[in-house]
Symmetry: C2
Subunit: 434 residues, 2 copies
Amino acid sequence: MRGVSDASELVRRRESALGTGYRLFYERPVHFVRGEGVYLYDPEGNAYLDAYNNVPSVGHCHPRVASAVARQAATLNVHTRYLTDGLTDYAERLLATHAFGGTAAGGAGADSPLDRAMFTCTGSEANDLALRIARHCTGGTGIIVTAHAYHGVTAAVAEVSPSLGPNVPAGPHVRTVPAPPGHGTRPEAAAQAFGEQVAAAVADLRAHGITLAAFLADSLLSSDGVIPDPAGFLFAAQRVVRQAGGLYIADEVQAGFGRTGSHMWGYQRHGLTPDIVTMGKPMGNGLPVAGLVARREVLDDFGRQVRYFNTFGGNPVCIAAASAVLDVIEEEGLRANSAAVGGYLRAEISRLAAGRPLLAGVRGAGLYIGVDVVDPETGAPSPSLASAIVNAMRDRRVLISATGPAGNVLKIRPPLPFGRAHADQFLDALSQSL
Amino acid sequence: MRGVSDASELVRRRESALGTGYRLFYERPVHFVRGEGVYLYDPEGNAYLDAYNNVPSVGHCHPRVASAVARQAATLNVHTRYLTDGLTDYAERLLATHAFGGTAAGGAGADSPLDRAMFTCTGSEANDLALRIARHCTGGTGIIVTAHAYHGVTAAVAEVSPSLGPNVPAGPHVRTVPAPPGHGTRPEAAAQAFGEQVAAAVADLRAHGITLAAFLADSLLSSDGVIPDPAGFLFAAQRVVRQAGGLYIADEVQAGFGRTGSHMWGYQRHGLTPDIVTMGKPMGNGLPVAGLVARREVLDDFGRQVRYFNTFGGNPVCIAAASAVLDVIEEEGLRANSAAVGGYLRAEISRLAAGRPLLAGVRGAGLYIGVDVVDPETGAPSPSLASAIVNAMRDRRVLISATGPAGNVLKIRPPLPFGRAHADQFLDALSQSL
């Protein structure tokens, strides 16, 4: 390590060492040297309030996670073809968080809970594996996703991620359904409308001789513009998918691990019992650990017929991080905090928005909030104004971003220990930035 | 953590928590609770000599790597859309290890060195990305691999991994070439013969209307039966591939980071200058870090057109581990050790094999050694005898495995600090096991 570099020099060196595809956030990129709780620090010691990152979900460099990682890295780190204690312990704990929701929510058609886990290193790998399993299990190849979905970067998963744009074309076996409007509808009506869209996609696949393998969706639609509501709108889709012989895959890379506040998993908000649940980003608070849980029947034949070994998947160091994350979520009451502070933040942003046509809609679940930015004159989505707000917030040392099909939805998704005082700091900066 | 469990109870719990696909090594699986240097320890404190694992390449739980991980996990862990120092520092160091070999070896057609890096979390992701880049860059889809290749587990990469067996069929755009016999040929003759096989595969793709995107091969063929020789046999393939408009992708997941002893990278042994080099397993000594380096021209258009962001790829904790690995390889002279101890081990195994028709061939480069096990009567490959030796070694607390198309090749691939005394311990156990 050469120590800390000047930011513009670092940008130049970075551009000549990394592939062209690397991007930096913000018109004036930020350079960080330290993180703690919900703050990141630049080389001058300035604190930036993190209202964006869901990966360091229990807080940047949480001492419990860091010490679990340190201890395990100094003790043992092997693959899963040897017996180790942590892997099985964690798999059991993880399954328990799903078993409760599965039965409590009483999802339709659930004659068996989610009772088996598999581990990968990234959400992309988890979704890639889920698609392989679904295609093996059903014999079909068709995949239905939402219109502006993002599910990862492997070749197979990029193909079902229309948000990557026209340069990454969807495969011939991919169909999309529009995200619901996200407001103003009752759950039953929203579920029925969305289910009908899925049924139409199934019919279109069939008309092209393609059998459905799976419906795959974020349990809180993220790249579609942060759409959590109405809770339950995904419910009827599950029935449609099952009737067509497909699997329901819930992507919890965004919504999982307590982010929505009301539930540990986003699918539980919708009363679903998925066939496969994929998870990633917040799982190890930054360590690369991801995976899926599924009904045993879904995995059995794939497991017998197909050799799948993920070298780093489920390694003891990453599992130690993941296990510490579950500890912290429970012991620090982060799910309840997400519900409380998320609700407060949403209410206060709505108050700010009330007098301002610039902010056209505020929605969210727990500490995942989306705000539509529109042209105050025309009411049209305004990505340029959204970007201006994002950069103005950065200048006030508060980190957010923008998302959605038009790029005009402010994406507010802080680490879960975000408290009321942090929310107030955020609201001050937002008020000034507007 | 519940602490240490009884092994058979742990196997039972593991089977009821993990997907059916999980396998354990050995007839009597081993349970580990601690690792240090080239040894792993079971709950009773018994030491197992590790002559198999290349992931903990600089030694299990190397204190320098463990402390770098501990320090970084407590300081900062963010993604690559913010500026951090470690990422660029490491990218520059990594590129430097390639620049030297590239120019020194003077590979044909190299008007530009490997000058850009991209980071992923696993070798599978690195190969998946390399295939995406190659297809984007060339406009072709055809991929040529060796007959029993293994390149990973994503859907796209499994499709070019024939060693996964008939349940994972190759795509229609995949062609295979047989691995060379691995002995008895001069480099020029071997290179010409192998190049002709690749040319035939290119012609067969063309005959099916498929344009070549890439040739992808381990620089030390691994799952094909541990075939490093004759050094240079891959040389002519590069020219054939370039003439057909394809890219040469060197998979260094096995051979890289000094394993072959003579060179930092396996392709350097063959005098190649690849277009893309993928790397993984030993890169972070067990932390999930992987990536690729490439000529800038190869990455440029992909980087401009295709959004690729790997959330955990290049994160500071994994980069700290990777950086410490480079430090240890250099400062502990592990490449020279691999050459010296690998040579000694190969010579001594050859002496053991001399009087025994059971062991039909010994080959390797540095600390990667393959030994053919055959039926002493018929001379036919014997996977059952290989398996018996592997299990007998395990009973003597020495870890190896078997590989190759017939599963009859002993795979001896210890961490790089494996010393002469460890080699002697290994040889005693092997002698007894035979």
